[in-house]
């Protein structure tokens, strides 16, 4: 069964999730990729807090295509999450409650999920036309010069994803890998 999650939500609402659960996400997601993570870290270092009201929000590691077919985005899907490992623990400590990407994470990210009560969710890569059907609005927030890597606020409805690392530090990718050998 799929669990519905309304975003933004307090970490307490994520505590019951277990690695392997399928979730359907509704509400706000902020797109952020490689270049955005560097800028967010710079802001955090300079100001001592996350910019643009990101504390308490969820990040989607995604660089969408432009609007198409009458939708706010033609297609959108997760990019490789491990490229954000360098910034994720600091961003979770500063208030990010969930991030959505694809692929395995570093042990530091597992520990950050545990210590902050945050979660890492995996969306399926390569189904971006399908995922875009779950996006009802897209609004530029900042960093327009980054093009597809700009910070956008998406409104989503029942976007499908899986719990890859839960707040107890259980790791779905690791479990799959260990079962495989």
């Amino acid at each position: 069964m799929s669990l519905r999650i309304e975003l933004p939500c307090p970490r307490a609402a994520l505590a019951a999730l277990e690695a392997g659960d399928e979730v359907l996400l509704s509400g706000a997601l902020y797109t952020m990729r490689d270049a955005g993570h560097q800028r967010a870290l710079e802001c955090l270092g300079r100001e001592g807090e996350l910019p643009f009201g990101l504390a308490g929000q969820a990040l989607f590691y995604a660089g969408p295509t432009p609007p198409a077919a009458g939708r706010p985005l033609g297609s959108v899907g997760p990019t490789t999450a491990s490229r954000m490992d360098f910034a994720t623990p600091a961003l979770m400590e500063a208030g990010i409650v969930a991030c959505i990407g694809k692929g395995k994470r570093a042990p530091e990210v597992v520990r950050a999920c545990q210590s902050t009560g945050s979660v890492y969710l995996a969306a399926v890569g390569g189904i971006a036309a399908l995922l875009a059907r779950h996006v009802t609005a897209s609004e530029l927030v900042a960093w327009e010069d980054l093009g597809t890597e700009a910070l956008r606020r998406l409104t989503v409805e029942d976007l499908p994803a899986y719990v890859a690392i839960d707040a107890a530090g259980r790791d779905l990718y690791r479990a799959v890998e260990e079962g495989a050998l």
């Binding site: 077919a69 694809k102 399926v124 189904i127 036309a129």
Partner: protein, 299 residues
């Protein structure tokens, strides 16, 4: 796509016809899951065992990939948000003339196709010195191959960053033998498949030189899934390797189960007595490429 036409001997390929072929191929590929991949995906769905560990999740992901392909075609939207870099290979036979400016209009065609198709601009000006986006998705990465077969054709591949990043070149010692080659491929898949969007098509190059072996692996991805291997020996090696990859249990989207790969394609070549170069280029579940027959002067 263009119909093949028999070229006259000495027919000259024009930059215009190559540019047009690039434009058409990009617009088509961005919204189209390669038909041979789609067919193999359907076979995998039929064969799927929902009751195996992770089986229900694997079946659900395979269904989503098929549904995504349907939406891409119906709505003419990109099947993946990473609409890739443009990789193009012009193959020309002995009856064709290739002018030195054959690729003159390619970057312009790329810019128009990415703008007109509302595709994603994913190219920076310089990997090291200037990572500003070119905002056109140009330049394309092009090569020419002179081949014995008559006529000329253009292969166009839209390659996503995730699956290309998950690829590698390893220079083995010849003593490592076939088991060493297998280990390189299995290590690559085990470590990187989760980033490369499985079910994969695994392109493997073995032989030639350090720079050329990666090209062998990339060309291996152009062969249709289910297409003819290089030889019976190569076919045996491919089947054995596919079985071992799928025994890893990584599964669709790396969320467990099977299949992890739909095919392994191996291209081999001669090499130095001291060498055993191996390259692995992973193809993702949004496999996008097309081959367009060209004719000199007719386009």
């Amino acid at each position: 796509m263009h119909e093949p036409t028999a070229p006259a001997r000495g027919a000259t390929l024009s930059p215009e016809s190559i540019g047009q072929a690039v434009y058409d191929a990009i617009r088509h590929c961005a919204v189209t899951l390669r038909p041979d991949y789609r067919e193999a995906l359907e076979e995998a769905r039929t064969a799927a065992d929902d009751d195996s560990p992770h089986g229900a999740r694997a079946a659900r992901v395979l269904g989503q990939i098929a549904e995504n392909a349907r939406i891409g075609a119906a709505d003419q939207v990109p099947i993946c948000q990473d609409t890739g870099t443009v990789w193009a290979c012009l193959e020309a036979g002995p009856d064709m003339m290739v002018p030195g400016d054959a690729f003159r209009l390619v970057d312009d065609a790329v810019a128009r196709a990415y703008r007109d198709g509302a595709l994603r601009m994913s190219v920076v000006r310089d990997a090291l010195l200037d990572r500003a986006n070119t905002n056109t998705n140009a330049p394309a990465f092009c090569e020419v191959r002179l081949v014995p077969e008559p006529g000329a054709r253009l292969h166009v591949l839209l390659k996503g960053g995730g699956s290309d990043n998950a690829s590698r070149v390893v220079m083995l010692a010849p003593g490592a033998g076939p088991e060493g080659v297998i280990d390189v491929v299995l290590d690559c898949v085990r470590e990187k498949a989760a980033n490369a969007c499985p079910p994969l098509v695994v392109g493997v190059g073995v032989g030639s030189t350090f720079d050329k072996v990666a090209g062998l692996a990339k060309h291996a991805l152009l062969r249709p899934v289910g297409g003819q291997p290089q030889s019976a020996k190569a076919a045996f090696f491919e089947d054995a390797l596919l079985e071992r990859i799928n025994a890893l249990g990584i599964g669709p989207a790396a969320l467990g189960g099977t299949p992890t790969a739909l095919a392994v394609h191996v291209e081999t070549a001669p090499c130095h007595i001291a060498a055993l170069p191996v390259a692995v280029n992973l193809g993702c579940c949004a496999m996008r490429s097309a081959t367009i027959e060209l004719s000199g002067g007719a386009l």
